[in-house]
Symmetry: C2
Subunit: 627 residues, 2 copies
């Protein structure tokens, strides 16, 4: 019998009305469990090594409410609470681990097959619950999505939050549903062949309802993060802080059958150890892979452009499976919007104008910054990710941060033309990387995605408002940001799903679906490889030429970012070519008459072919010929 991972922290229901409690409280001399409901009693835990306290208590069933009593005085919820029915300041609840899984034979998906759909549980549907997502899964599946990525679901203060203010890493947000609700969502995904990625935040805890300070040295003042105290990953007692977060990762992967974790802001996991927390986490997950019988992945958010993160341990890497490439987004964003302020200054030329060659570099390598000087950071930035497989990069044209951190939360659909949206879809879905779609992007959702919170501490609320105002004042943005605390700000951020059937929205969605279908079916696109690819940028014409190939065929995508219809001689290899997609043909008017799209020769015998490409358009040509 293989040993399956089992949780050691928190309240674990053992059956037969017995529950085991264990908590790390090295600052306490004495820890009791104060059972609040159904009966009210106090039971002492026994001290264990390293400041843990534990005990099995009879007569405690799922549903029981409890807090820990530290040194006979402070009563605090469980740092590893599985559920906080009354929110961050209330008691913790004992939860059953049992769930009737009906996933069938689910082994996960290879990373190469991931097409990620990032969603925020609270605003994806009007109900804002795990359960309310399920009816949408079929349409996502039909679109070509293969994995949904949930923004963090750990308990945060109040009912409205992006999730990055979570303070109970093991408890699902009570306004989203119960733990069974999340399991039900995962189960429903797996039944449909969809993987589930969960966004987890290990670099900080939220500013309200964080009671970990009372338990132990979870935090350190040796380093700072933009969001408060840094987690203590390398100082005294850090082994147990690591254990807490590593157990959290295994908890989601094992008990919730989650397929991958998106590790938020790993650059803010500040750790000078020889063996860093991230390496340890990756090694533990690697050990668990066999037990899990399922493909599982760790995907980092990182702004360091440090290829070491995603290299294999035998090559000195941390062994994480993939990372987000912000560079991809930023370069594309400047090409589409012309924006060049803030961090976008690093993604335009010295003349503040966008450059197609930068996109070409990201397409080829995965990063734009591989060691050159960053004007925004004021120092050289990044390392070369040469040799790192393309499937280790997750790319997007929009995500919660890139949309939501704008003062007005505008999606790309509010910033650029319809033609640009189609062009962006092509750049995203024909890239050799793992694409991520931000909820609603596929049909050009018009609702903003704003920054919203629902803290209960008035001072904190005011501080968040002030911080938000200052942030945008620094960027000389005009006007006032919407009030993050206002319920309206949250409500405005909800998707309008019905849009997807209408006019241009439906056309855009059809393009996403068509591109995903071809990507899935054609080896030259399904094979994520930096090596089986040639990329050329035509700076004057603002055109990007991408030739990808694999056993079974070739694909050539040509993207025109310029405002002009350009005739270009392209080095398309000889062979029989078919135009599979011309973005200009995806029109908003009812008759969908053909525009003068690209019309390449069917047969190309010489090395170069002239192509007339409309402004802000792309074409995809395919050939069965093996390149």
């Amino acid at each position: 019998m293989r040993q399956t991972w089992a949780p050691s922290l928190g309240a674990v229901y053992l059956g037969n009305r017995r529950t085991r409690f264990r908590v790390w409280a090295p600052l306490a001399q004495k820890v009791d469990v104060h059972l609040l409901a159904p009966d009210n009693r106090i039971v002492a835990l026994a001290p264990e090594e390293w400041g843990y306290f534990a005990g099995v208590i009879d007569g405690v069933e799922p549903g029981s409410l409890y807090v820990y009593r530290l040194d006979g005085q402070k009563e605090r919820p469980d740092p590893a609470s599985r559920f906080q029915p009354e929110g961050v300041h209330g008691p913790s609840q004992v939860v059953s681990r049992h769930y009737e899984w009906s996933e069938g034979c689910w082994f996960g998906l290879p990373l190469q097959a991931y097409v990620v759909y990032e969603l925020h549980v609270g605003t994806f549907t009007a109900r804002g619950t795990f359960g309310a997502i399920v009816p949408h899964l079929d349409e996502l599946k039909e679109l070509g999505v293969t994995a949904i990525e949930l923004m963090p679901v750990s308990q945060f203060p109040g009912p409205r939050n992006w999730g990055y203010d979570g303070v109970f890493p093991f408890a699902v947000q009570n306004s989203y549903g119960r733990p069974e609700g999340l399991k039900g969502l995962v189960n429903a995904c797996h039944q449909r062949g969809l993987a589930v990625i969960l966004d987890v935040v290990y670099n900080h805890l939220g500013p309200e309802g964080n009671y970990l300070w009372d338990y132990g040295p979870y935090f350190t003042d040796r380093y700072k993060t933009p969001w408060g105290s840094a987690v203590n990953f390398d100082g005294p007692h850090s082994d147990h802080v690591r254990r807490y977060f590593i157990e959290n990762a295994l908890y989601w992967l094992t008990e919730f059958h989650v397929d991958a974790l998106r590790l938020d802001a790993t650059h803010a996991i500040l750790d000078f150890s020889a063996g860093t927390f991230l390496e340890e986490l990756a090694a533990v997950v690697e050990q668990q892979r066999e037990q899990l019988d399922r493909r599982v992945y760790l995907i980092a958010e990182s702004d360091r452009n440090d290829a070491r993160l995603i290299r294999l341990p035998e090559l000195g890497g941390y062994g994480l499976d993939a990372q987000w490439s912000d560079d991809f987004h930023h370069v594309l964003h400047t090409l589409l919007t012309g924006e060049s302020i803030g961090y976008y200054q690093d993604y335009v030329g010295p003349d503040s104008r966008p450059r197609v060659e930068y996109l070409a570099k990201v397409y080829k390598e995965g990063y734009l910054y591989t060691g050159q000087y960053s004007r925004f950071r004021q120092h050289r930035h990044g390392t070369s990710p040469a040799g790192v497989p393309a499937s280790r990069f997750v790319v997007c044209t929009q995500n919660h941060d890139q949309v939501g951190n704008r003062m007005l939360g505008e999606r790309l659909s509010q910033l650029v033309s319809f033609e640009d949206l189609k062009l962006a879809a092509g750049v995203l879905l024909l890239s050799p990387f793992v694409p991520l779609i931000f909820m609603g992007e596929e049909y050009g959702e018009t609702a903003p995605f704003l920054y919203f919170v629902s803290h209960s501490d008035p001072q904190l609320v005011e501080a968040v408002r002030r911080g938000r105002r200052q942030e945008f004042a620094a960027f000389h943005t005009k006007g006032e940001p919407p009030d993050p605390q206002a319920e309206e700000t949250f409500v405005r951020s909800r998707l309008n799903h019905q849009l997807r059937h209408k006019g241009g929205h439906a056309v855009l969605r059809r393009l996403y679906g068509e591109l995903l279908r071809i990507r899935r079916e054609h080896p030259a696109l399904a094979t994520l490889s930096k090596e089986q690819m040639e990329v050329i940028s035509y700076e004057k014409e603002k055109v990007l030429y991408v030739h990808r190939w694999a056993r079974g065929g070739d694909a050539v995508s040509v993207f025109n970012f310029g405002d002009q219809l350009v005739p270009l001689n392209l080095p398309i290899p000889p062979g029989e070519w078919e135009q599979r997609v011309a973005s200009a043909e995806f029109r908003t008017d009812q008759d969908e008459a053909l525009q003068p799209g690209a019309q390449p020769s069917k047969h190309i015998s010489e090395g170069e072919v002239a192509l007339e490409l409309p402004a802000k358009a792309f074409v995809l040509l395919m050939s069965e010929r093996h390149g």
Copy 2:
């Protein structure tokens, strides 16, 4: 013609009475050179990109004194000053780069051949100068030393300092001599086939005479070091801070023909970049290797036990050539002294008693801590250095820190018996690592090596005294530490070279010489390899058995740390064996009669041989047989 590296910062004499000045002063709007002597004049420098100011000034020859005038007001010495004839607060001096080298064909030594002799210029001789070292080189060479390592020589306040309070990284300490003095010492070393290692401090600057704050953002408050502000290696403008220190490294390697740099406390070089300063430094030195036509090395001090530091870049390492292994020292120190307080608690067993198995592990791997829990640090510590060649570890039984950071600066000779000193010599010199001898160790110098400074700021002096007292109070050490500021403390730390001819001192020195000679001549000892080695610890008997082999022969060393003469059956391989060294035979009495030393059979045919080993002694057996 290959391009040789040339300095870009500081005052560089171009010949023909012309000198080029360049300084990084991004905080200044305007920088002048104020020439003080021989003539007094002010010449403006021209601004360059990135906050540099530069200019070539006619009529300035070596010997000229100058300061920079920042914004027409503050006058400050040059951060890249080549010499400070009047100390840290005085003007800088233009120095000629010319030196009549007469090294002959000096290509440096392979790291495997390094036998390092660490010395402090100020106390190695009564005169305390570079020049005064030269007459001692022949005796070091004759002893078997192949490289001298100079404690830092950069200009520090006053005439007395270990060197870690240096504030002019490019200027040699004025009380040690002039730049030509150091060149002369290097030249004299190379003439004798001795390499020169220079200790450089890139993790902080000293507390007095540091004028870098006035020039630019050399420091950061994002991190802390035990010795003051951390150097800004990863924040805004850090490219230029890096350039300053990288140019410093090349300056010593190129202009002074130094063979290796010992990088002080690299764990305090706090840098979260994707491409760290240390990696960049290693890469730049790697690029320079061809130009230098000489084997050069970067050797890190590090307390992180991070094997990544010394792995090759292609294996994800930083590409440094070697590092000090403190673990080696600490384990051996506990075995010899029984000490178990402070950081030594990590090097004894849970019963606070020394363990031979720990030494066995260090012998096998290079580190003791490869990820296990450290009681002193209160978290797991280190990574496995598996696969890292043995020649990448520098080990010692004493060094300036381990001796000098004791309250009374006692050397091992003051702490343990004569037999123990010989045993320590055997463990050191028969190890598969690069050995480092601390000046005077080889003859059991009796002078302490105390902590001394000569600051001019009374408040700083008092702070150092207080810090020193508090440090030892925390360790419950009785008594008062010697006054670091007192000249006597410095004078007491001087070597008594004449001791080496006397009695037991001479015998000890003879043992060092004999071991070094055999080590050099015998392939099994000259080949530094973790793989061609078998190590067994006998915990009850307190015996360490080490079998090393190479093409050409085998060597077996057996070390007895116990208080008893032990008979032991050892797995010495069959063959013809010769006892080459028995430490017990190195006696202090004049007739040097043999003690009952180890007397193994000449011919060993069976797998185990009984050996009677006196207390606190070792034997070295050798065989021509190829193991």
